[in-house]
Amino acid sequence: MEESFLTQLKEIQEADILIGIPSYNNARTIGRVVRAVIAGLAKYFQGSKAVILNSDGGSTDGTPEEVKRVQIEDFKTILTSHPVHPIPKIVTPYHGIPGKGSAFRTIFEAAKLLNPKACAVVDSDLRSIAPEWMELLLRPIYQEGFDYVAPLYGRHKFDGTITNSIVYPLTRALYGKRVRQPIGGDFGFSGKLAEFYLTKDVWETDVARFGIDIWMTTLAIAEGYKVCQSYLGAKIHDAKDPGSDLGPMFTQVVSSVFSLMGNYQYLWKEVRESQPIPTFGFHFEVGLEPISVNVERMIRNFRLGVKDLMEIWRKILLPEMILRLESVGRLPDDSFSFPQDLWARIIYDFAAAYHKGSVHREHLLKSMIPLYLGRVASFVMENQESTAGEVEAKIESLCRVFEEMKPYLIERWEQEK
């Protein structure tokens, strides 16, 4: 922890609420995010002492300066009264391996020192954040006694494909809690939970990168903390960095899920069915920007995997799965379909193989990408004309398949010992 950062925290001494904003080159959007946070805190938590902490990964586009500069000049435009307490802002670089998880670690460390009742983290590239998000992420902790608030969003039907095809169905089947956006990126959590996160030595693993979200959610569920979710409305990000690659994101998230399965096997093997969790917020329909999906490219990538990666997949999957994959690979583009049960079995087989270590783990995860793209392509084709509600029903049916096939996972897991 930097000396100046520590000094600032010591000067503040303690806070009721801590808001963390991890960032890296988000000067374009972070101003809006900070304004929404200030407005939300001023509107919903007037009497509380709050601190905003920007944990930055070494931005070169003036992100930290933008955070320091942003203020709400005239509160009359959004509030009937001016807030009583000014909200201190701390901008600090984080240390450790570059990634979102390392940024969160700095926020947890600040929480340990400030001892807040409630904390929240929000992404710095959000274009759809509103002051109400503060209430929705903090109130369940601040007043209702929850420890962890996961987000619920209105998203485009083809958005969040890793969430919809792997993380949500798998987490739900494993731990029995229906947390719809386990890797949403915007969370609320208690100071007690933040302190617990800090006790874990995971900051040199994928948790320090994209694995942080699923790690936080899984620990909150598995360690028996009170978990809920809040409907925040639309989630619209800033335009993606064109150079950003699916590979690291995919492998970091999936490796974190699979590693946690090893840690909590004593728990998930006993879970038989899933339960809904308490949900806050008013669910309303949101207008979302259209997005384009290049299905042909995904199918091409899947077929290339079938042609060249079978040698690796044979070490992971059962022979009948290999035969089914080969027949899926032979389907023409217009009738391409990747069945739900085949997908669930593949995920379970990969999880068991990861646990056993029969294939080098990085190779195992990277060789999953063509399969994932095949499944996403199939999902997009099936739902080209579907409404958001119909798509949600399809995701629900996939989740049920994952739950029904859990004995298969346990069998494969035990076999792999």
Binding site: T161, F250, L304, G357, H360, E362
Partner: protein, 236 residues
Amino acid sequence: MGEVWRVAISDSFNKFLGKVITFLPNLLAMITILIIGFLIAWIVKKFIFRFLKAIQFDKVSERWGLANVLSKGGLTYSPASLLSRFFYWIIVLITLIMGINALDVPATQNFIAQFFNYLPHLFAAILILIVGYLIALFLGQAALIAAVNAQMESARLLSRVVRWFIIILALTMALYQLGIAERVIIAAFCIIFGGIVLALAIAFGWGGRELAKDFLERFYKRREKEDEGKEDISHI
């Protein structure tokens, strides 16, 4: 006359007895060395096997593809068993040589000295080959997966090129270590790889100018087309 015979026979017998008496301790030393050596070899074999089992060497070998290579080569032993047997036979070999050395026969002395001087080179060469082969398998597989994810049609070819490049490199290093035709090996290695690079340069620069142009044009057009059709879904 009888006396002369008696003396001659007695001298001869005494000399023989003297030699036997001189040789006998060496023989006993050899037998002792062999017994102790075999015993140590057996203990080391058991110890290494148990140690490799404890660190799950067979699983690691399976992951790295070594077990697969062994089974393809018709070896029914597990990698842990094979490695422990390898050390057993190495100790047995050393024991035999030490045993022969204990006999103190001048003809074997030079051979034994040479053998012990050569032994480190042999070990280093074997180690280079094993490690080189494992690295070749690992990087070949990594290249294959990366190429598939980058949508390269010739992913398998690229993987084989990577694998064979490392195997040949390891082989060259091992032969160099053994001191077998060092200069020839290095020259051959330089000629082969220099030749490959030259062939590619000529093919693309002159002979296959049109083909190279066509290939690059198609490649860039495909890239442009892909960039246009790039999806903007958020995977997380």
